[in-house]
């Protein structure tokens, strides 16, 4: 019996030795994304975008003559899972870079681990400013919440035909993303001469918002800002409309999911707008090729999360190419120097805080709950 075990051990050692030698031929990249859980459509879209980009790059011969080997793990949108997966990717899979996690609070849990182990982590979609403040190995492919909040506040003041003077905010007090957006919206709205008449909050997992909404209704705001993900935003929009709150409802990129219309009810999405990273109907050649290829592959129109996931891979590939070698530190340095990189969601230049400067689109809805393009807002030139 003992001998059998010994032999098994030897065989498995040989096999693992062989695979690790073989593994050196590829560029190992890990993707942490919520494939299930409350915001599963986000994670699935990111995964689709990432896989498509990886396959495209590999089909063209890979980067530096090596193929990208992708590991994907589902974090169920949980912070602790994100941290565990990051650790697993670094220690077991020995990845050179991590893509994801998708939402800010998850990224904030995984980022310190990547930073400690000096593995570059590039979140396609985490918009909270604190994410890249974790350290110099943490990057993102999307704009930051202060920009997003600012854009929506400005849109509320000037973009809807008439000037809206009073706003109410309903945010999730347990979400970094939601708190951040609420803060920047409020600051900008006030600095533009508007007034915040109500600021209400709720906890994650709440389903009943009638108390907060009734209170907001009593204050009669011209516009309601709901910086929340689609799973709760859908319920809030529905309950707000049912309580007779018919003013415009604005949100952030968290609204971007086909499930929003299901949860809120199509008819309730009238007069709702959100700030996003990308619009599939755009005329730019990059977007058109991307949308066409995505449709061919998945038979669906890509949302902005798919586009950002796709872009994150190209951002990383570009950095590896410029680094000239598959080395975590060299890739970090190259990523930090990303300049004028033309991608689907816009031209990316990273600032000194490793945040991209890029434009936002504002998206509304038609009567069938389909997204319609409203306008594009460029980043402030400093």
């Amino acid at each position: 019996m003992k001998r059998v075990f010994l032999m098994l051990l030897v065989v498995s050692l040989i096999i693992s030795g062989v695979t690790s030698v073989y593994g050196a031929e590829t560029i190992k990249v890990g993707l942490i994304t919520p494939l299930t859980g409350p915001i599963a459509t986000f994670g699935q879209s990111v995964e689709k975008g990432v896989r498509m980009a990886v396959d495209e790059i590999n089909a063209k011969g890979g980067v530096l003559g090596m193929k990208i080997e992708l590991f994907v793990e589902d974090n169920q949108a949980k912070a602790e899972e994100s941290a565990n997966i990051a650790r697993k990717f670094i220690e077991q899979n020995k990845v050179v870079a991590i893509l994801g996690p998708v939402i800010s609070s998850n990224t904030l849990a995984a980022a310190p681990i990547a930073q400690q182990s000096k593995v570059p982590l590039l979140s396609p979609t985490a918009t909270n400013p604190r994410v890249t403040q974790v350290g110099n190995y943490i990057f993102r492919a999307c704009f930051v919440d202060d920009f997003q909040g600012t854009v929506m506040a400005r849109f509320a003041r000037t973009g809807l035909g008439k000037r809206l003077n009073t706003a109410a905010i309903l945010y999730e007090k347990t979400s970094d993303y939601s708190i951040g957006l609420a803060k920047y919206f409020k600051e900008t709205f006030i600095s533009l001469g508007g007034k915040i008449v109500a600021e209400e909050s709720f906890s994650s997992g709440d389903q009943d918002f009638s108390a907060q909404l009734t209170k907001i209704k009593g204050k009669n705001p011209d516009v309601l800002y709901v910086p929340s993900y689609y799973d709760t935003a859908g319920l809030i929009i529905k309950q707000a409309r049912e309580l007779g709150i018919n003013v415009p409802i604005l949100g952030g990129d968290g609204f971007d999911s086909p499930q929003l219309a299901e949860l809120a009810g199509k008819e309730n999405l009238k007069n709702c707008y959100f700030s996003g990273h990308f619009f599939a109907g755009s005329k730019s050649p990059e977007v058109r090729t991307f949308v066409a290829n995505y449709k061919k592959r998945y038979n669906a129109v890509p949302d902005m999360l798919a586009a950002l996931g796709y872009d994150a891979v190209y951002m990383l590939a570009d950095a590896i190419k410029r680094a000239g070698k598959v080395d975590r530190d060299a890739i970090r340095d190259a990523l930090a120097n990303t300049k004028n990189l033309k991608l689907v969601t816009g031209t990316i230049t990273l600032d000194e805080n490793r945040n991209p400067k890029k434009s936002a689109v504002i998206v509304g809805f038609d009567s069938n709950g389909n997204q319609v393009y409203k306008t594009t807002v460029n980043p402030p030139k400093k």
């Binding site: 599963a40 909050s201 009638s210 108390a211 209170k215 319920l235």
Partner: protein
């Protein structure tokens, strides 16, 4: 301001009747068995999914879907009793063992739900079209919709039905006898296992009704939807005096209204904290709950 207070109280009653629906099942099982069935909140979740599949996949109407969900949950409740609780009861296991098993069953159901139905929330089919009563709105400035009325009236109706079953029927008499003194009831020829099975079936059916109603009301179901309402319903049952059927109802309403009023007039960030503080104070003043008597326990 007055209209806002009234609107908030209506919101509170609607929320409270959800807690009350779940609390009824808790309180009944406790009343008969002295067992806190922590899996109750998860049976409610299974009920919501059963209703979802009946409506969305089988394309059934509202009534058949309701009955389907209730039957599925009755079977689930009975099998949980048969396989998880009865073996312990027959071995005279201490009460803490049954409680621990209940918690285990709760986690089992939640995780089976995650495996089979994925943790992704689903939008519940809008089978009852929303109707807002315009007349009431124009006259009083208060918005009431038909779903709120349905949820409130169904929970009151189910409470009355339960009262009737427990107090006026033969099986109800057997339930009360088992609750009062299990051994004597057995010696008098009451089939204890049957009575307890029946209790679980009824309790789970109530939970299923709650699940379907909540699915319609909030339009969103997920495998962990039973956790928070389960805890709150349990608190509501204790608040009203656990084991007492009208107590569960009143406890649910008080909890719902307290939560809503705190979030409306104090601060929405302290909703649960303050609402639960109020409950602690009530229990300090009256430890056996609002309807509870300190010495006698009854159904």
């Amino acid at each position: 301001m007055i209209t806002e207070i009234f609107q908030q109280i209506i919101n509170g009653i609607a929320l409270g009747s959800i807690y009350a629906l779940i609390a009824l099942g808790y309180t009944m099982v406790y009343g008969i068995l002295r067992l806190i069935n922590f899996a109750h909140g998860d049976i409610y979740m299974v009920g919501a999914y059963a209703g979802y599949f009946a409506i969305a996949s089988f394309k059934w109407g509202i009534l058949p879907s309701f009955i389907f969900a209730m039957l599925i949950c009755a079977m689930l409740g009975m099998s949980i009793e048969r396989f998880a609780y009865r073996p312990l009861r027959l071995r005279n296991a201490p009460r803490i063992a049954a409680l621990t098993t209940a918690i285990g069953v709760s986690f089992l159901l939640e995780n089976l739900g995650i495996i089979f139905w994925t943790p992704t929330p689903r939008a519940f089919p809008q089978i009852i079209p929303l109707k807002i009563y315009q007349g009431i709105y124009e006259r009083f400035g208060i918005i009431v919709n038909n779903r709120q009325l349905v949820i409130i009236s169904v929970s009151i109706a189910l409470m009355l039905l339960l009262q009737f079953i427990v107090n006026k029927t033969k099986i109800g008499m057997a339930m009360r006898a088992v609750s009062f003194d299990r051994e004597t009831a057995w010696m008098m020829g009451v089939n204890i296992d049957y009575v307890i099975s029946f209790t679980f079936a009824i309790g789970s059916m109530l939970a299923a009704a709650g699940g379907v109603l909540v699915g319609i009301y909030f339009n969103r179901i997920d495998p962990l939807m039973g956790v928070m309402p389960g805890v709150k319903a349990f608190v509501a049952a204790v608040l009203g005096g656990i084991g007492i059927i009208p107590g569960a109802m009143v406890g649910g309403f008080i909890l719902g209204i307290a939560e809503i009023l705190v979030s409306a007039f104090i601060a929405s960030s302290y909703r649960d904290a303050i609402a639960f503080a109020i409950l602690i104070i009530i229990l300090l003043v009256k430890p056996s709950g609002i309807f509870g008597t300190a010495t006698r326990e009854k159904v």
